[in-house]
């Protein structure tokens, strides 16, 4: 029966080629626009650490020394709070994180000096965030403690400097310090670059910078602070620092702490530990707000920072509304198309076709239009994504159509046209056989 309906649908579509083409085009444009924006949304709002993000937390304390009940913790921590919490080692894994830019030269490589981003972090960073290595390994906890002059570099930097060869053991010069490469990462492109996310509330929706590439150089926290002394910038300061004071002692926040907690009990324990730390610091007179501690999970932290740029959200809404209008349009056109054939339907009814059979036949035709529209929509989605990729935005290189979105293109197209075909098909199925035969 389905084959027969398909045959009927094909004949019907061929009969009025212009109308068919218009309907297919309408679906294709609607699907193309929706899938382009939905794909970008899907890529930007996804989980950067699938399977691990549930165990990752972002502890916050409030080092503001002035009592103020409305005060919220800043998005980063001061050096002392962060290092105190880190050295307690109460979590399954913990990593300090702070970024800075500095000059890099590679002895023996014929390239001018580069300005690179360096992430100062601790050894747990790599296993905690499942960072993949191509050559060598992360540094060890001993390297953290002994301020070893070692670094891990990105795949991109390794390609630029050493043509992608195994560069473990080679020396780089960071500012004025020689460091030894102990590890080279495999290509690693989390979306967003979650561990650096902070201050999203203040970005006014312009958050595409959260999707930039990871740093090129990773160095042990204490070593990095010495190597690039004076090169770190505060996130904010609650009062201007005294003359000549180092950032480590300044009234500024600029270090983030990430922890991994493998069970609910450990999460509760860590929350208590954090509260206890704040109490203790209040007793010491360093904090004014002892109960102002927070510990959002990774995904909650990303939400709090509104990581998905507001323009991308707006575009998604726009595209969905657009698809809706395409559907209304299609309902109208299908209605016209089906009812125009009232005579033919009347004959089929008179020959014994049931309501249900006419209904099914009409839906098959609508579904066929949807499928054709899906092919067009898929091509338009590829064009749309190519356009997004050619934009100078940080997430441009992330944009591609993955298998799930490819499948969704067709599912959405067929589902949308079946939905649009529902009402016209019902109306067509109601055509009374006798009346049409008489009129004809």
């Amino acid at each position: 029966m389905f084959a027969y309906y398909l045959d009927l649908a094909l004949r019907s579509l061929k009969r009025n080629k212009v109308l068919t083409a218009l309907m297919v085009l309408a679906i294709a444009v609607g699907i193309g626009a929706s899938m382009t924006t939905l794909t970008v949304m899907h890529l930007l709002s996804g989980d950067p650490l699938p399977g691990r993000s549930g165990q990752i937390f972002y502890p916050q304390v409030d080092p503001y020394p002035t009592p103020d009940p409305r005060h919220q913790p800043w998005d980063m921590m001061d050096y002392r709070s962060a290092t105190d919490l880190w050295s307690a080692h109460r979590a399954d894994r913990q990593a300090l994180v702070t970024g800075s830019a500095l000059r890099l030269t590679a002895p023996g490589v014929n390239l001018p000096p580069l300005m690179v981003q360096m992430l100062a972090t601790t050894s747990d960073f790599f296993p905690m965030f499942r960072v993949p290595f191509r050559y060598g390994n992360a540094w060890t906890a001993q390297d953290d403690a002994s301020r070893a002059r070692v670094v891990v570099i990105s795949d991109a930097l390794n390609r630029k400097l050493f043509g992608g060869a195994n560069s473990v053991g080679r020396t780089l010069r960071l500012k004025d310090t020689d460091v030894r490469i102990v590890g080279v990462l495999a290509p690693w492109r989390p979306s967003p670059q979650f561990y650096d996310v902070a201050g999203g509330r203040f970005a006014g929706g312009d958050t595409s910078a959260f999707y930039s590439k990871p740093e090129d150089v990773f160095a042990p926290f204490a070593s990095a602070l010495e190597i690039n002394d004076g090169g770190f910038q505060p996130f904010t300061c609650w009062q201007p620092p005294e003359e000549g004071v180092k950032l480590q002692n300044a009234p500024c926040v600029w270090v983030a702490l990430w922890v991994q907690l493998d069970s609910a009990a450990k999460v509760a324990d860590y929350r208590r530990f954090l509260a206890g730390y704040a109490q203790q610091q209040k007793a010491l007179g360093r904090f004014a707000q002892a109960d102002n501690t927070r510990m959002p999970g990774l995904m909650a932290w990303l939400d709090f920072n509104h990581v998905v740029p507001s323009d991308v959200r707006l575009q998604s809404w726009l595209a969905l509304a657009f698809l809706l209008i395409c559907l209304f349009n299609m309902v109208g056109l299908l209605l016209a198309k089906f009812l125009r054939r009232a005579g033919e339907i009347g004959v089929r009814r008179a020959l014994g076709a049931s309501h249900r059979a006419i209904f099914a036949q009409c839906l098959v035709e609508a579904g066929l239009i949807g499928l054709l529209g899906g092919v067009g929509g898929w091509l338009l989605t590829l064009v749309g994504l190519w356009l997004v990729r050619s934009q100078p935005v940080e997430y441009a290189d992330l944009v591609h159509l993955d298998l799930s979105m490819f499948a969704l293109t067709f599912v959405l197209a067929v589902a949308a046209s079946l939905l649009a075909g529902l009402l016209p098909a019902l109306r067509a199925a109601r055509v009374a056989p006798a009346l049409q035969l008489k009129a004809g």
Binding site: L22, A26, Q391, R427
Partner: protein, 409 residues
């Protein structure tokens, strides 16, 4: 009841569909047009500097200007830059309008009185000649005098002794209004620094000077300009003959590396900086234009499709009307009137939808109220579109000969 209305009652479903489609299109198109207008207006606000005559350069190699022998190098750099043919003047500034890189401070109306402070004021700083180089026009007061430039280095941590800020400043009208609403700011004093203890006198007022970044905290142009002898981590700004900009930009890296080879130089034509700042807005405007165009085309096609269907369905009735005396013009008018009714109904619903959508957008996207003019222009556009779309089918209807009435289809 008018025959148009009673005829429509026989096609309730289709009428409702077209009305809804037109309403949705109306709501979307008016809001899209409003968004386009909003972004275009934002993009055309004057920066307050001589956009078409500026080239800037940043050098990063002296360890981001973290304290190594700055003075000598900078003087040599500036002399070398001035020698490039086509360069009229050179100065240093900590930032430029729309360059995204800003420093924001608090200004105090009363010394040390926390209740008097105006927060999130952008602080520009520049070296001698900076006002003329940038081409900032003052609507009141005067430029800085040579002796007013002082060695002030704002907001640097761990960089040696802090020095008090300059004692004079040029402020924008917007900053003046938030400090002293409705008063003449010239000669007035405000206070700077963490405790608000350093007095600064206003010697000039600029009507326009955009911030490095426009956002809801710092606003668009609430800023002050301070005279300094050195800018740490800033940019060299070159006032250049417009036709020489590309050549100067190409020459800068070589010229600066001749002074000190161990560094990287970035040079950019200022209009490119502006274009880069508005890139997202431009992309959005194009997108909205394409979407609006597609929507209108789609709706028009929908109207054409349905009207043709109706004309075909009513061929006999048209024939009968023609046979009993209706003119071609009457038939044409009939379909045009019918379309006008349907579209108007859609527009009424759509305008309500447009206002609702605007309110929703205002909540989520920092938009303003949509002026009524946008609704009106959206409505007019849809009326025209509807009439245009129905013209073809209506003409075909008018061409139906009266003899059809006597035939069985």
């Amino acid at each position: 009841m008018h025959p148009v209305l009673s005829a429509l009652k026989h096609h309730k479903t289709t009428v409702v569909l077209v009305v809804l489609e037109i309403a949705l299109t109306c709501a979307m198109v008016t809001n899209a047009l409003f968004l386009i207008g909003d972004r275009l207006a934002a993009m055309h606000v004057p920066t307050g500097v001589a956009d078409n005559e500026l080239v800037w350069a940043r050098t990063t190699g002296l360890d981001l200007g973290q304290g190594t022998a700055l003075g000598a190098d900078e003087a040599a750099d500036m002399a070398a830059l001035r020698a490039i043919p086509g360069v009229e003047s050179v100065a240093e500034a900590n930032s430029l309008p729309l360059s995204r890189n800003y420093l924001s401070v608090a200004a105090w109306r009363q010394p040390g009185d926390k209740h008097s402070l105006v927060d999130n004021v952008v602080e520009y700083a520049g070296t001698p000649g900076v006002m003329d180089t940038l081409g900032i026009r003052l609507s009141k007061g005067r430029d800085f005098l040579a002796q007013e430039y002082v060695p002030y280095r704002p907001n640097l941590i761990g960089s040696g002794p802090r020095t008090p800020p300059p004692t004079v400043a040029i402020v924008t009208r917007t900053l003046a209004e938030s400090l002293w609403p409705g008063k003449d700011p010239l000669g007035k004093t405000f206070w700077l620094d963490s405790d608000g203890k350093e007095p600064v006198q206003v010697i000039g007022v600029a009507d326009h000077l955009l911030n490095p970044s426009i956002n809801k905290y710092q606003g668009a142009d609430r800023n002050m300009f301070l005279p300094v002898t050195k800018v740490t981590g800033g940019v060299y700004v070159l006032r250049v003959r417009p036709d020489r900009r590309a050549a100067v930009k190409r020459a800068i890296p070589g010229v600066l590396q001749k002074v000190d080879p161990a560094r990287m130089v970035q040079a950019e034509i200022y209009t490119d900086t502006i274009a880069d700042y508005y890139h997202g807005d431009r992309a959005m405007v194009w997108l909205l234009l394409v979407v609006t165009g597609c929507l209108l085309a789609l709706t028009a096609l929908g109207v054409v499709g349905l009207s043709s269907f109706w004309v075909q369905q009513r061929t006999r009735q048209i024939g009968i009307r023609r046979a009993i005396g209706a003119t071609r013009r009457d038939i044409l008018r009939y379909f045009q009137l019918e379309n006008l009714l349907i579209v108007s109904l859609g527009i009424v619903l759509g305008s309500a939808g447009a206002v609702g959508m605007n309110l929703w957008l205002m909540r989520h996207y920092e938009l303003t109220h949509m002026p009524l003019a946008w609704l009106v222009s959206g409505a007019v556009a849809l009326w025209l579109l509807g009439q245009l779309a129905v013209l073809g089918p209506a003409l075909r209807a008018a061409a139906v000969p009266p003899v059809v009435a006597t035939r069985s289809v």
